[in-house]
Symmetry: C2
Subunit: 479 residues, 2 copies
């Protein structure tokens, strides 16, 4: 008999049919009602046994966390909250779970702190919250691949180990196979990197963008979706040392095309989750509502999780220049009442308090801010006519701040070379990048989405360590 | 006017319609015929200009590699090999390409060696061969995500930086931010790894399998698709230091389920490429045919590239045990004529010559060999009743050898602990892995596919460096 997954059974069944289900016990009540979960859905199937017919020693082994195979008949359920249940005919205990041991884990059916769950990241998959989070994380990944494939983009695997650090996005991790204690030295007494595995000093990538541009300027449209790294000592709820990033890059796109693509992309993801993750989303929505009740009124979210996703899908993103943003902020009540902590004037970077004001108070919807002062942004962003600003864009989301950063790229070789000089990037380091501007250079644009930030947004989780299976942070590299 | 991609135009057009296309010049003949490519397909669109109406200086700038925007009318083509062409009305040169400089690159339209193309990996995307390879690489990626998503698997991002090396799959790259020349030492004079970023010594992952098992034993079915690393000094056409791997893991699956899944999976990929990559496949098929003509008759492939894909789709994979394989080999002509270089007896590992005999001569189709002697295989493979063999499986493909390796996993805690001891794996290193056998352990199985090996198979490329955008190999980490 073939196993039926619980998700399939709940969505399509016939009363009276015989089924075989396998899964893990979430609870066992009154020696009679087993709640079984197999990971295919957040919902359990209730399996009912007539305990009179069962061996007492076997009954004792039906405990939270144990794995069972159950054969039985699908019948209407008289209990609340479920349409059907299984009348158990045969029951095999595939794997026991000692209740005293289970009591020391996150499987114990009671409320656990997220911190405690993180310490048992290997078992937290078996909880409702993390089952939902990681099923949704999968859905977001798939939505991304689907979005780009449907539009004729090619997935480009840019390198993880890289000899280039031109992107300058942050501190890097060194990769080496040299003897760490006694590395070979050259005549100057410096480490002889030519002896290392790659014959030079190499690092973990901070971005695949430069390589993605190489692909886009031949294949037309590409995207990356891979791990990126920052060796920054940031112990916050928004930073990881290892995280996943999506970086599309499109030949012939200008900044407006780039904004259109970004908006369509983010809406697609939210819409996909709303359509395909109903049960998990409903669970996380309720969870957040309950969490919110613990908070003072003025700290609560205005919208529920599901409402926030619907809100992104339904609303056009506001598009304003940095210059306009500064004007709006200078005209704002908090500015006039001196409630902003940081200064607001042209040439200073926007702080979180300013972004939140614009997104959450002023426009009350996602905002794209464009054309930032050149000095804030990377060397490859296209210089505008005014000579002061670049064709950059940041997408700001309610509650989460910057979720996407992008730009039109500088396609003019002479301007780009000058920018390299200004940013102290030796041309011989990125000769290959400059080559694309030598041979049929074209306007092109792209952006980067921090994958975990997006998963935070669609799950409502507020700590980034709770949306990646095994988080890597300073002094923490478990499992 | 919106740009039309060349792939769209060629698949759907109306004669007389006005279009805007943008792309790069592949060739310009008789001051009249421009072959333009935009990466959306291997096919070019021919754009025809009446040179009498064009400025001579502009004509001179229409050179191989230059980027153009062309507006014109779609008309029937009188030339061979194309149904339509564009009568040019407006032409913008978006980016020049100096012919003398282009002549020094792989864009020069002539036959280049693959070695030379590799040195210009940043420009080889613009050639027909590599355009085709990387479009197909994308298609294979997408086919994989689609296969698993359609079957209710969840994509699990297992960690890249890891403190565990229990998998024992090979030499690892060290990741560190310590001062490489003067690392901090502890009282014993050894490097004080507690001072490093993660507070301990960490490496780049060689496999996500152990973590994937954690996911599968809660979510039911998961798969990984991420980069993996080997710091091995293997300068061969089949090895990379950085490559991508797919590792599905399924709770409740035994070895037979695992074989069924693998076979269905590999057939799906081949079928997807046959269906979705017709033009690119046809090009690579012709390319291989021409290559084959240069070879002596007895070294040529029996089947063309396309035939090999169809062959995988059409044939059931042969399934035999290692013990049976040894018997077949001992009964074979080459064994009796002492033509095998390596010995054939129970307890020695199968060599490439043996695998090729079984796949290419004896069965003439893909072969799955199962139940290898335990000593050849990793600690986590399930011990068979005979006490000598494990529930392992290797899938062998014609021309390429082992493409998939997998097994049913050892789910019995006592057996697994004994295996850890046998393999010198300290239990405290993988307490989290052992935990899954403590709490509702169930039979489960999985396998690993080297992504680049699969891309080699479906493109016919014979060097693994030619199927990944920027290969990382010993002493080579460019771009």
């Amino acid at each position: 008999m073939t196993r039926t997954k619980i998700a399939s059974l709940l969505s399509q069944y016939e009363l009276g049919q015989e089924v075989l289900v396998k899964g893990w016990v979430r609870s066992f009540r009154n020696n009679q009602f087993i709640q079984l979960n197999d990971g295919s859905t957040i919902k359990n199937i209730q399996a009912v046994i007539e305990f009179e017919n069962w061996n007492e020693n076997e009954l004792k082994r039906i405990t939270t966390g144990a794995a069972l195979a159950i054969k039985g008949t699908v019948v209407e359920s008289t209990g609340a909250g479920q349409a059907i249940e299984i009348q158990v005919k045969e029951l095999d205990i595939l794997g026991d779970a000692n209740p005293e041991e289970v009591a020391k884990t996150v499987m114990q059916p009671k409320r656990h702190s997220l911190e405690y769950l993180r310490e048992q990241a290997h078992l937290r998959f078996r909880t409702n919250v993390f089952g939902a989070v990681f099923r949704i994380r999968h859905a977001v990944s798939y939505a991304i691949h689907q979005f780009f494939n449907d539009r004729g983009f090619y997935y480009l695997h840019t390198p993880i180990i890289t000899g280039s650090d031109a992107e300058g996005a942050g501190e890097m991790f060194r990769v080496s196979t040299l003897d760490p204690k006694n590395p070979p030295l050259n005549e100057q007494g410096e480490i002889d990197w030519s002896e290392d595995f790659f014959g030079k000093q190499v690092n973990l990538t901070v971005s695949g963008q430069l390589e993605a541009e190489l692909g886009a300027l031949a294949l037309g449209q590409v995207y990356t979706f891979g791990p990126t790294f920052r060796a920054e000592n940031s112990n916050t709820a928004r930073h990881l040392a290892e995280f996943w990033m999506i970086e599309p890059e499109v030949a012939f796109n200008d900044l407006e095309d780039n904004m259109n693509l970004t908006e369509e992309f983010l809406k697609h993801i939210c819409n996909y989750v709303l359509t395909n993750c109903k049960d998990d989303l409903e669970f996380l929505n309720e969870r957040e509502k309950n969490e919110q009740k613990q908070k003072p009124q003025n700290e609560r979210n205005e919208l529920t999780l599901a409402e926030r996703l619907e809100f992104v899908v339904a609303n056009s993103f506001e598009r304003i220049t940095y210059t306009k943003a500064i004007e709006l902020l200078q005209d704002s009540k908090p500015f006039k009442k001196k409630q902003f902590k940081y200064p607001v004037e042209w040439g200073t970077d926007l702080q979180s308090e300013h972004e939140r004001y614009l997104v959450e108070k002023h426009f009350k919807k996602p905002v794209i801010i464009t054309d930032y002062p050149a000095s804030f942004k990377a060397f490859y962003m296209r210089q505008n006519e005014d000579g002061k600003t670049v064709a950059a864009m940041d997408v700001l989301f309610p509650g989460i701040g910057e979720i996407v950063g992008g730009s039109q790229r500088e396609e003019r070789l002479d301007v780009l070379k000058k920018k390299c000089a200004d940013f102290n990037i030796p041309e011989e380091e990125i000769w290959w990048y400059l080559d694309t501007r030598r041979f049929g250079s074209v306007p092109h644009s792209g952006f980067g989405l921090g994958f975990e930030r997006m998963v935070m947004f669609v799950t409502g989780m507020t700590n980034i360590r709770d949306v990646i299976p095994f988080p890597r942070t300073p002094k923490n590299c478990e499992f």
